[in-house]
Structures are given as C-alpha cells and as structure tokens.
Amino acid sequence: MGTRRAPVDHIVRTRELYSSLGHEPYRWVQNVDPPSWARPAKPLAECRIALVASGGVYRTGQVAFHHRDDLSLRIIDTRVPAAELRTSHFAYDQTDARIDPNVVFPVDTLRALARDGVIGELSRRAYTFMGGIYSARRVRETLAPEVSRRLAEDQVDLALLVPV
C-alpha cells in the first residue's frame, strides 16, 4: 500500500482557483446549526427511493444545461437506457461520466438493487441539475423547495442525493 493522504480540501482548492483568476474568494455555505432529521419509516426493501443528482445529467432530446448559474431541473424517467444519458457541467472532468453515467447517476445500480429486492423500488422520476449556483439564497428559496415538493408528490420514502 502506498502513502495515504488526507482528503482533497475542495474549499481550499476552489478558493485558490478563484483568487488565481482574480475573483473574490468563493464562500461556501457554513451551516453550524444541526440539520433536520427524519428517520426512514420503512425497511430499505420497502422503500421507494428517488435519485437526485447534480452532475449536469440530461437525456437526449432534453435541453442541456448552461454554465452560468443554471437553476433549471431535468426530470429523467428512470427506465432510461444509460446510452441516452449525457452530461453537461462547467466544473468537473466528465470523461468517465460520459463513458459510464452510473458514476454520477447510478441508475443501473439502483435498478439492479430494486430487481434483487434490496430496495423496494426506484422512483419513476429522477431529478437532475447542474449545481455550481453562485447564490445560496436562490438555491434555498427556489431550487430546494421545488425539488422537495416534487419528491413529496412522488411519495418517495428516501432521497438519494448525488452531487459532484
């Protein structure tokens, strides 16, 4: 086994990138207050799980994401063949995600777990967006309630969130 290093500090890295570009330092949200807590009411094998991903995933036929504070959502039917999935994102290396979208949008993985009875079912609608939205206020006031409202409508028991 080789040398172990601590996790990459992406807050430090983003700060360095922004200052090297002459921008104001980006301030990540700091929530010192504890988050709300809802316990799963059912065993996993009975849960309807929703996939929510921010790797800029869209399906062929959909409008792609733009790269300036895109607050929009894509609804993706989780019966989608992985070959119809695409990515559009301003910040990360998409090489592997374009070879196999399951590394940022684990739809085949979750379908297999549903088929094997490990999870109850994969919710029909997955929600994707791009992230990298500069204004935390707009995420809090616009995007977050919209995603939450839709998940409630879909009557899901658990939301699996996959950022990049």
Partner: protein, 127 residues
C-alpha cells in the same frame, strides 16, 4: 446539494447524501452523508465497474441505519488507488472549468439537434 438535502429532510423525507468533497459536506452540513475518497466526477464509483458500484451503493445505503446523529458522515473504505498521488495532482492542476455562458452546452451536436427538433421540453423545468 447540501442545502437541498437539508430542505428535503426538513419537509419530512429522509435523505442520504453521497460525497467526494469532504470539507464542503462538513461545511454545508447535510443530515446524513457517506464520503467516498475518489476524484470528483466519480461520486458513486468507477466507470464500467458495476460490481464496485454496487458494493459502494450497498455500503452507502447501510449508513441509513448506522448513522444516528444529524450531520454525521460515514467514511467509506474504498480507495481510488493503492497510493494517493492523485490527490497531489488534483491540488496542483489548474482551472479546467468551461466559460460561463447562458447558452445550453451539449455533450455533442447531435444532442442539440434532437433538443431543437422537439418543440418544447416537458421534462425540463426552468425556474
């Protein structure tokens, strides 16, 4: 994504966040997270390795019943490679981000034509 996790959970739906950015997750403080120490762009595993992707997902889902404190993060045991040299390379690499235009950026031109052929996109939600 952490802000969205907090909102969903506040509305009563349990969430599980997967992350490869430990410091950001600590700062934004979602209700329940698992940390996979991989380069960004591989939040749920390595490309074309369905068996590893499944193992990672199983270990992640197990956190639902293992984590019992709001804001807790489970450290997953998977390693990207035997050494961690990729982390040094990440810190030393420059800015690879694309320009920030408000035009859709398609993975390929064929996608642009497909999207244009459809007169509207009922599964696109513009907020």
């Amino acid at each position: 994504m952490g802000l969205i996790a907090r909102r969903i959970e506040a509305d009563g739906i349990p969430t599980l966040s997967m992350t490869s950015a430990f410091s950001i997750t600590r700062s934004v403080n979602p209700p329940r997270a698992v940390f996979l120490d991989y380069p960004l762009g591989h939040t749920t595993g390595k490309a074309l390795d369905a068996s590893l992707q499944r193992d990672i997902m199983m270990a992640s889902l197990a956190a639902l019943h293992e984590l019992d404190t709001p804001g807790a993060v489970k450290m997953l045991p998977f390693r990207w490679s035997d050494d961690d040299d990729w982390k040094r390379e990440v810190m030393e690499s420059g800015d690879a981000r694309t320009g920030r235009s408000a035009e859709p950026v398609y993975q390929c031109e064929a996608d642009r034509r497909l999207a244009q052929d459809a007169s509207d996109c009922p599964t696109c939600v513009f907020l």
